[in-house]
Subunit: 146 residues, 10 copies
């Protein structure tokens, strides 16, 4: 089994058992966003989480070590097309320079890490239409002079 | 004066007066992210905000109507290169499918609007290194069948 | 069964039963354009529509839930080549700035939604050659300052 | 004067005289969309329209023949970025195959012309948010066997 | 059977029966270029031509309706590489602006249709080396003001 | 003066003198397509033609040698956008494999030269709409085995 | 059997019989470069060469006609990556304008044919490190005025 | 003065003095190809050659050190368009894998250097049309295991 | 067996035998980086190394000659996406011109070879977070004038 | 003065004063690679370094604050062309997967930072040709589960 095959097995088992990402994450005791990303093959699972997932979804035994493998991250196409994902790309395009100005004004020259990083998604009820709230939390890494 | 010239004038005046985006935003009574984006020419200013900005930065009188013009939004290159902005693009690449799964599980088929949208940046102090917290808040728009 | 397999099954059944998109849409009581797009895997079907379609086309029972799944929308190539589709891309290229000017003059700064959106195609008989009339109808979304 | 210079002169004069595209079009007795596109240099003006425009906007005399010149149509970038224009591109991407199916079911094998073509934009008031209605009208051109 | 499978069947049968495109076209009573393009899946065949072709090449009965289907036209790569095809692309690149000037001088603002279009290839014997003569014939479509 | 400057001078002089490409070509005793391409900087002129052109258009004396210079041929964008030129690109895309089949069936393995090459444009009157006739004539170059 | 299958068969047979391209070429009485290119599917073989090759490598009988077929030449990626091939691309990039200047100074306006063309590779022993000598020989084709 | 300005000065002086690249190279006692490439800014000149060139072309004194500067080599577009240069790119595309096979059969695993490299262009008279002979000579660099 | 199949066999055997790249390299008596690259199909193995590897991993006998084959090196996508690899690309982007300045100041006009080249990776313990140390060692190749 | 203007001033002053990057770095008491990158506008200078540089190179007083500004890092083209820089890109392409395997085997799932990063260039004398030694040193950043 490779990553792609385990992802497929996870998605099929989740559908067959009528589970949600949220309930799977709750069983594992971890965040929904992170658990989903690991189930889609974009993060490696610590052993305990992989074990619990295999149990919950009754995956074949060899799935555990594959879930623990370090993935090669990739996406296609380079400019996203699905409207939900494109809108995020558009936000980066429209507000990229703004975020650079504001972050560097607050922190100095450096970046927000995408590795020492976490993200949450919340639903904010609103009578004019519910709102999606995405919170990104990344360590600030200052540029180093040497 | 066109947008690009006004952006340059704003940036020079801000530097000459040693202002920060945060203090400018506070004078205008609006969010730092939004004010910065409008000053960089990526959003159009309501009349009152444009007026206050011109006053604060002592911009030439014709700047006001240019700040109110509706911009054509563009960015280059399509795949960002500056490390701070690239990391955000990478987050969209790595977590795009995850966000689609999680948002659509919570809300149904649809997207987060990038138009009816706001964003904040906060500094979260941390002894192991301060953290950047970016919060995006967009209206959920359900797909419509007809 | 995944989306691609259900699309193939729909297209084969439609051909075998010698149905048109228009007659299928009429049976479902919905618009021809929307029904076609959902049958081609570009929109998710509400339960009732999926049920009716499965019945009409005698699709396997598992097709229903697949028709209801939220699709990942994608197209290739990024610059269309089929002449019918390219002409629409050309219209966007030639008249894009014009539409921006005209829409924003009428509505203020904002966009036409492609999500809260519907589209119809009509045939307008004309002795000099019949004409295609495409009507797009999307909610205006004003940019938000914050 | 070349096309680009005349476009700039038109836009400045329109702003100085506080005219709208709609009022200019009405003075010329032609459609707003077409007049705007010609003023932005994407269509050539018939002599009479060019003359009226020069008079209305008090353009230099050599502008008339430039407005009548046949433009080389171009747009950049090939994949649009401004959100209003991108949404139209997205519609072509998401619904391109659908439109091909529906148009060819109604008309036979062929395309909708983008040359023998007109387009209108209307505002449809709606208590839940006004709607943009774009109507495209193009001659159907059947493929020819020989 | 889909288009690609029918194209393969046509090519194999043509080889097995040692026929030429010219002789096939002559049997169908149509132009060699058009018949070849339809056999390669780039044009849809009228019923009678499809019937004759199936008979001549002893194709399976379901091939007929597939030959009549309206193809989605595509080519790859976007910039051709095979030297014969590249040379034609080069001609369009080198002489594109020239053809625009000359055609529009003769006809006014508009284009040559690629839909209401035919093309022939002839061999012109020449002692210094035979010459290829390609004749394109397309309806002129004037731009429309509205 | 460089090529670009001479092209601009030619175009301005042609406009000022109200000449057509056809009349210029006729004065030079050469084909309209070739003369236009050389005037647009895509071919080098033999001395006599350059001399006649300078005289006819009253170009500065240094223009002659520039017209005789060997140009670096280039076009942009690689995938044309102007509709008239795009249609020619589309013809190459749709009919490229067909032309390869037909030409190589008639001539053997090889190509049509784009260098030992000429092209003509004719207007074919037609009550249903005049037609553009483009004739390309290129030497067949057989591949060489060695 | 198609070209790709015959190429694979040739490569396997060459390996099994422990032959070199040079010895195969010598058996066929032709150049190593040309024979290799034809064996890799980039040139069509004259009947006699195809026959000899089939005999030498004990290829299945249908391979002969496939070796004689006219190939569609293609390469991927458009910008080569393998270091040996990239260095040649780099030479074209770095010295392209130089070669244009030097060739056109010697021959007049025109090009070196890549069709009426041959190429040899020699090993030039050198105590400081042997050297690769590539010789390209192409017919000069002058541009034609008409 | 920068490289681009010196290149322009060299080209203008060469034209004014009616020199050829060959005669300039001969004065410098070096190869025509190399001298041309250095004059076009793609190689750095040793001091003595730069000095002689400045003298021969009567360039301003500061040109000497600029000719000696190490250039940043670049070309555009990445896929060449000028027919003379494209043909060389095509040769690399069509024969790239062939050259890899033949060179590595003769030399082992490695590449031909494009740095420890020279190139000559010769004219080979031929009654059927003169031929261009390009000879590339590069040191073979074997891959190193470690 | 081809390269890709042998790479897969190596990776599976390494996993089954719970070996590390470091231990495999140590058994072969060569560097970890080089051995890994050869096992991933990006370098050809000398006979002795291939033999030892086959023995150690109990690979099928035909694997040995495939490990010795000269690979065609390729990577995809051209702009890396996996964050670990992208950071290296970013270093080349950000520091490319700097490295050119510094290397050429120390060595003269020329490059660092990527063929006569070796690389090591070390772990440098650090209480603030361990550090990756990558050392590249390539022969300097001076440009040659001729 | 903006970054680009200061970079130009630095480069001109360095040339006029006949300084090397190494001597400038030594005066500043910092690494040659870092100082060069900051002088080329790819890193921001701490105040003290900027002050010393202005003094050493006698730059205009406003240069100091510009040297301290946080740059937007960018490079062009995305796939490098200059041979020295391309070789580094090639190393990333050929050895990217290898580095991922080796680093992650030593450190676990994570990346080498390009921000908390330093780099040195050394000359290693060698009778067979001096060697370039590039040492990269970046903090290992482990992926975080949450």
């Amino acid at each position: 089994m490779n990553k792609a095959q385990v992802v497929e097995a996870v998605v099929l088992a989740k559908k067959a058992k009528q589970l949600t990402w949220e309930s799977i994450a709750s069983t594992l005791g971890m965040s929904t966003v992170w658990v989903t990303s690991a189930c889609l093959g974009m993060n490696s699972m610590p052993e305990q989480a992989a074990e619990k997932l295999c149990e919950l979804l009754e995956l074949p035994s060899e799935a555990k070590s594959v879930l623990m493998e370090y993935p090669t991250k990739a996406w296609s196409p380079a400019i996203p097309q699905d409207p939900l994902i494109y809108r995020l790309y558009e936000v980066v395009g429209v507000y990229g320079d703004t975020l650079k100005e504001v972050i560097q004004e607050k922190f100095g020259d450096g970046i927000m890490s995408a590795i020492d990083f976490s993200m949450e998604v919340e639903k904010q009820p609103d009578p004019k239409g519910d709102r999606v709230v995405i919170t990104m939390n990344g360590k600030f890494l200052p540029y180093k002079a040497w």
